[in-house]
């Protein structure tokens, strides 16, 4: 068996992955969208959970572990979404994002810093020309309970302040009451308001509850133009879980194979340890493959995860655990 270590996938590799065979279907009516969603295969909950449990027993050791940890660091959206956020806190987070371990500049920077819209301009100014992107939640995050007009203003506000990525929430109320056309139209409108900014669509899977709903919501988001589909806001009790991530990964894979574009997946909320992160990477590897093993297409929305990744990285290098206080608390 080969022992080549895990590596980041280059743009060149990605080009040969999946051939777009059919263009994204244009959705012209709610009935058409409904028909498309009902044509999707159902998810057997027991089977999906069993699959995830089996993949969680993969044993990731030595150079693979080190490479996976570094890959995970590069995929983190370092997040602060509190009422108590201040420019000072955001500055400290941005500094950490650019140089996660100040003693070792070989540690990659994280993918993005994720903040509320009013702190986007500040984050942008701290990050300057670094490769770290600014992501902003918008559309009346986290509940999404506002008129479309307000939601779009929220998005434009964030984008004009310099957000590279927008994390929107879907209208779960509309989805659960069957008004999927409304959910779709909102995503389309937000995508338009984003302009060049990348759009991540938060499904809030903890409120959708069933895997069938997760699969359908994933397709609505992708058809609506999402660049990423994202599990959760992190603001409710049930956040990202491995089976939900599995269903979403299957959705992006099937979408890429039948409709064209490759859509990314972001798992958010409750991912705190390197072990968790590596389990997600194994899931990505064995469900959608190497194409998605890049920050362009897979992200972790997290805050405390980063320090654990740094700690485990050092442990792999030194062979012994280091104190938690070796890493900054931001």
């Amino acid at each position: 068996m080969s022992t080549a270590p895990l590596r980041l996938v280059t743009e060149q590799d990605r080009d040969v992955q999946i051939a777009a065979t059919i263009a994204v279907p244009t959705i012209e009516s709610e009935a058409q969208l409904k028909a498309l969603l009902t044509s999707l295969s159902g998810v057997d909950a027991v089977g999906a959970e069993a699959r995830v449990a089996k993949l969680s027993t993969r044993s990731i050791k030595k150079s693979t572990k080190l490479a996976a940890i570094e890959m995970a660091i590069s995929m983190v959206d370092l997040t602060t979404l509190e009422g108590a956020d201040t420019p000072g806190r955001v500055t400290s987070l941005c500094t950490k994002a650019m140089r996660p371990d100040p003693r070792d500049l070989t540690v990659p920077s994280v993918a993005a810093v994720c903040v509320y819209p009013d702190l986007v301009a500040h984050a942008r100014s701290v990050l300057g020309s670094s490769p770290v992107a600014v992501a902003s939640v918008a559309t009346s995050f986290p509940s999404g309970r506002a008129s479309l007009k307000v939601k779009l203003m929220d998005v434009r506000d964030a984008v004009s302040a310099g957000a590279d990525e927008v994390d929107m929430v879907i209208d779960r109320g509309a989805f659960l009451s069957g008004r999927i056309g409304q959910v779709f139209d909102e995503i389309v409108a937000v995508k338009e308001a984003c302009g060049d900014a990348h759009l991540k669509v938060i499904l809030e899977t903890g409120e959708l509850v069933t895997y069938d709903n997760v699969r359908r919501a994933s397709w609505i988001a992708m058809l609506g133009g999402a660049d990423f589909i994202k599990t959760s806001t992190g603001k409710i009790t049930v956040n990202a879980t491995l089976p939900v991530a599995l269903v979403m990964l299957e959705a992006v894979r099937d979408f890429a194979e039948t409709a064209g574009p490759t859509v990314g997946v972001k798992v958010a909320g409750g991912i705190r340890t390197s072990k968790d992160a590596i389990r997600y990477l194994v899931l990505v590897n064995e469900t959608v493959g190497s194409t998605w093993l890049t920050p362009h297409l897979f992200r972790f929305g997290a805050s405390s995860l980063l320090n654990d990744l740094l700690m485990q990285r050092l442990k792999q290098q030194r062979g012994a655990y280091v104190r938690a206080d070796e890493f900054s608390v931001d």
């Binding site: 295969s41 057997d44 089977g47 069993a50 993969r58």
Partner: protein, 488 residues
């Protein structure tokens, strides 16, 4: 077209460093004797044979070849233990021993998993997560029955049969020993167990566990040997019951030899399980289920879903996804914790798989074989799928007992049932559909002992398992499993 290699999919391209479990955990001794009357002794003729690791063809240890004389010693010991000790114990006392055995299996589970993987060739992930925990679960389950036999539905105070001769196969060595021993002991019988010639080691570790559990001498005797040892056990006049799991061919011989004797008989034989996929099946889980159905334990499973019956409307889609998934299976060192498919158990079995797959090609089926690299030494066969298979092909009718799947199509539920039942076997089937009423309609009409709905190859000690027609008779597991060891 005959050996169309799979296109290289990008799945699983993140490569994992080897994560091998240490072989030294097995703590194997240089040689093992026969476990008779509570202690290990040499065979009368002092004949021995080597147990080989099928993953590298290296000899693991030497075991004794029991002759008819040794079989007689074992049966005499079992009879004595039955008359003097075991038939006089209360259910609660038997239960105590069974609980002890179950806990000791758990305590030594890591060692047992490594022994099983070394001797059998199955991936450590399966021996660790399936074989050993299920073996312990069987002892726990029947420990609970030992003092409740009055309530098992066979009347008040049902009596044991006496001395049970038990012959088990090489595909799940320890688990099959547990399936045989646990209900027999709970019901009050004493046992002579003969593990398969190519996989005797975990049963010998189990013998050490029985000693540790202080099971009275002679209640369980474990004798190793080849087919001649099994034949001597079947023909021994003082055996009251024969329980056999293995090939239909040998099962037929045993039934002939026990005909017109006082011996009770249960047989768990071969199969050619049909996994029936309707167009509304949950597709991703169904693909995993097909994979589990045929590549679990390298397909060395009597109830393997070796025939895939797919509704024609989704056949291309299912085959495309299936082939992609097969390519992703990690084949190699069974001790590596990330291995999905291990080694074929023996050179003889590998030869049989090669012969039958050659028929598949010459009969015109389309072959897809994983492009995985196979190790140089040892017995290996790459996971293989045959498409465009017809009912009349040999690969659709004969049990291959290897990692080879035959894919056939159907148009209506009636046709699916007719094709699934069109076999001499009748052990297990799977039905995949999101429509419950259809699943039940199909399940009612399938002639097989076990039907799985939206899953495959799931086992539990509370659930009866067994076949119909050439797959044998009698049930193991559950309350039904007690019947095979009670005089009812």
């Amino acid at each position: 077209m005959s050996d169309r290699r799979l296109a290289n999919s990008q799945l699983g391209s993140l490569e994992y460093d080897p994560a091998p479990e240490s072989a030294s955990i097995a703590k194997l001794k240089p040689s093992y004797g026969l476990f008779i009357d509570g202690k290990f002794s040499d065979a009368e003729a002092d004949a021995r044979f080597a147990s080989v690791n099928p993953a590298n063809e290296e000899s693991l240890t030497s075991v004794a070849q029991a002759s008819a004389l040794d079989v007689d010693r074992a049966v005499v010991s079992a009879r004595r233990a039955y008359d003097k000790v075991w038939s006089k114990t209360t259910g609660a006392q038997r239960s105590k021993y069974l609980f002890r055995i179950a806990r000791l299996i758990q305590e030594r589970s890591r060692e047992l998993a490594v022994v099983e993987t070394l001797d059998n060739g199955k991936p450590i992930r399966e021996s660790r997560d399936v074989d050993i925990p299920l073996a312990a679960a069987h002892f726990f389950y029947y420990a609970g029955w030992a003092d409740k036999l009055d309530h098992a539905g066979f009347g008040v105070n049902p009596k044991p049969l006496g001395v049970a001769g038990q012959i088990i196969p090489w595909n799940f060595p320890l688990l099959m020993a547990a399936w045989k021993l646990a209900p027999a002991l709970a019901a009050g019988n004493t046992c002579v167990l003969k593990p398969a010639e190519t996989t005797p080691l975990s049963a010998l570790v189990l013998a050490e566990i029985l000693e540790q559990a202080e099971l009275p001498p002679g209640v369980v005797n474990i004798i190793t040997g080849d087919g001649s040892t099994g034949a001597a056990l079947v023909e021994h006049p003082d055996v009251d019951k024969i329980a056999f799991t293995g090939s239909t061919e040998v099962g037929r011989m045993i039934q002939q030899r026990t005909a017109a004797t006082h011996k009770h008989l249960t047989l768990e034989l071969g199969g050619k399980g049909a996994n029936i996929v309707f167009e509304d099946a949950p597709v991703d889980e169904m693909i995993e289920g097909i994979i589990d159905g045929i590549f679990f334990n390298q397909g060395h499973v009597c109830c393997a879903g070796s025939r895939l019956l797919v509704q024609e409307s989704v056949a291309d889609e299912v085959l495309r996804r299936l082939v992609r998934r097969v390519e992703q299976l990690r084949v190699g060192d069974p001790l590596d914790k990330n291995t999905d498919v291990g080694a074929i158990n023996s050179a003889a079995q590998l030869l049989r798989i090669r012969e039958l797959t050659a028929f598949g090609e010459s009969e015109g089926a389309t072959r897809y074989t994983s492009s995985c690299e196979l190790p140089q030494k040892g017995y290996w066969f790459a996971p293989t799928v045959f498409a465009d298979v017809s009912q009349s092909h040999r690969i659709a009718r004969e049990e291959i007992f290897g990692p080879v799947l035959s894919v056939l199509t159907f148009r209506t539920p009636e046709e699916a049932v007719a094709k699934a039942n069109n076999t001499n076997y009748g052990l297990a089937c799977g039905v995949w559909s999101e429509k419950g009423s259809r699943t039940l309609w199909v399940a009612e009409r399938l002639r097989a002992g076990v039907i799985w709905a939206n899953t495959y190859n799931r086992f539990d000690p509370t659930s009866p398992f067994g076949g119909m027609r050439e797959s044998g008779f009698g049930r193991e597991g559950g309350r039904h499993g007690l019947e095979a060891y009670l005089n009812v």
